[in-house]
Symmetry: C2
Subunit: 332 residues, 2 copies
């Protein structure tokens, strides 16, 4: 039976997500509706993707009896209210990262999902790439010994992207980019609680961060060294240092290969000629497939990114924002 | 006219330095004497390298009228006293890094060299590699735009190296490894004064550091992200991130190639079949040549690594030791 998706918002990431769904069997995934704040946007989006229904206002997705799951691709500050509304109307939710603006909102969302017995996942698509499952196995095998350090940088020139600059729109590199480096170290260090966090960063004229570098220490003399920037392209590679060897993970947020001391582990992306807005977006299909499997199996959270992990990511982002001096309206 | 070297100590690095000298013309470099704490060590060393004189006790080098310059390759805690003695006896000095144990000693040594009008250089051989002169030019050209970040890691499994573990022997990664990552960021950021320094690290049972990670911020939103470890092999690469591109510098402490957005800049090491103890030690010949040219030109300090830079490196190491909690007897 097909999982019936309702798409909340008609922006770039929603385009990419729906396009990725189109590479999957129709018997498994159907997009039944799209909603935008203005009807013409929804209609244009619906037309270009062959979606039956176009709505003005997100509530319509919540109220649509044909929708099983809402894909929330709105701006960051709306994630909490929109996801909450969907859950309260009985819809499963896959919500773009960051799940909400802070730990308090994330905990509240998780509570509703649990109470309503609905599936809720923060769309950290990285975790659904086949390379990540293999990476987990390699780490588990102990072949690189005891992991001592994780280094990751993630930066692009995004200074002209208003969504990222603006406080009102929930901008800043912490919410948009740091979530990726944080989830990576979280995966490697298995969700351990940091013993110390040190950070430097800089704010733009609107008071959102345009770069950060942070050090996270963990029991067993482990360190994560994380960098984000909206000012320039960074190496955008993660490196895991173990006592017996190093693993390099290029494109760690949408990983299709990683290099161990023995060899390069390669994973082919699904073949497609369709145009996407973002790098390797066809890989969003892995996430969609994973979500369908979870829901089919009656799960309310993903084993690839648990609710506890989303809560921890929110905590970590709150910590960084505090250290760097970023305060959002939602934090008050 | 040949520069006449007196070698202070008969350890591994002295072996490599003298061996590198042997790849240079005899008309330019001669080793006239070697001194060790015990005569047999000096005699063995002299015999294996064809050195005319072998001494028991370093003072003999200081008193030898045939010696123009002392190469000081003793353990770290002896650098200050030995280099001081050489300068006071009228010898030029090339002293292995770290020049001394702290800023106070380094300033004192520089003062003596200036007063006696003698050449004094901390043996940061990295700075003398042809690749570094080219790297300076590339940075100066602005081809990678404004430099925003320098990341460098430097780690090996050195847990069994007593010299590095022991407080008495001046161990720890800060003195032995950090000096290299620090001199790299100093070169890129042109000796700017950091606005903030944050660090984490761990001490071994003897109270010396066996790993550190530090963040250094500089005016203009620049950051250096530095890691050292005696627990495992790290990527041991430096990365310079500019607004217009990235430069990767493998083997940044003995650099023979670096990769700019345009191309790989390669520099061949002098050819030799001779065995060295350390990686690329034949490159010590660059340093020896540079020292000779400086002295021939009547210079008392190297333009590749000035006295002010050595003082700053000592300050930086003092700062790190304070943050990580390392205290040496010389610091009291």
């Amino acid at each position: 039976m097909a999982l019936r998706w309702g798409i909340v918002s008609a922006g770039k990431i929603c385009h990419d997500f729906v396009t990725a769904l189109q590479t999957l069997p129709k018997s498994e995934h159907q997009v039944v509706a799209v909603a935008a704040r203005a009807l013409p946007s929804a209609q244009n989006f619906a037309q270009s993707h062959g979606i039956p229904k176009a709505y003005e206002g997100y509530i319509k997705i919540a109220e649509d009896k044909d929708v099983d799951i809402a894909y929330v691709g709105t701006l960051n500050p709306q994630h909490f209210e929109v996801a909450k509304m969907m859950l309260e109307h009985g819809k499963h939710v896959l919500c773009e990262k960051p799940l909400t603006m802070n730990e308090r909102q994330t905990r509240a969302l998780v509570d509703i999902a649990k109470r309503k017995n609905l599936f809720l996942m923060e769309a950290i698509w990285s975790r659904c790439f086949p390379a990540y499952q293999e990476l987990r196995k390699v780490l588990e095998s102990g072949s690189i010994g005891d992991v001592l350090q994780v280094n990751a940088s993630f930066g692009f020139n995004l200074l002209n992207v208003e969504r990222l600059r603006s406080k009102e729109l929930g901008g800043g590199t912490i919410l948009d980019l740091c979530v990726y480096v944080l989830q990576f170290q979280q995966l490697v260090f298995k969700g351990a609680t940091p013993t110390k966090v040190l950070a430097v960063g800089g704010l733009n004229s609107e008071g959102t961060d345009d770069y950060t570098s942070s050090l996270w220490t963990y029991p067993g003399d482990k360190v994560a060294n994380l960098t984000t920037s909206a000012k320039a392209q960074y190496p955008n590679e993660a490196v895991i240092v173990g006592t017996k060897g190093i693993i390099r993970v290029p494109d760690f947020w949408c990983c299709t290969e990683f290099i161990t001391p023995e060899r390069t582990h390669r994973f082919e992306l699904p073949k497609t000629d369709i145009h996407f807005n973002f790098h390797k977006s066809v890989g969003l299909s892995y996430e969609a497939q994973h979500v369908r499997e979870c829901i089919k199996a009656g799960k309310t959270e993903s084993p690839y990114l648990t609710h506890a992990e989303s809560i921890q990511l929110a905590q970590h982002m709150d910590t960084l924002q505090k250290l760097v001096g970023v305060v959002f309206p939602a934090d008050n």
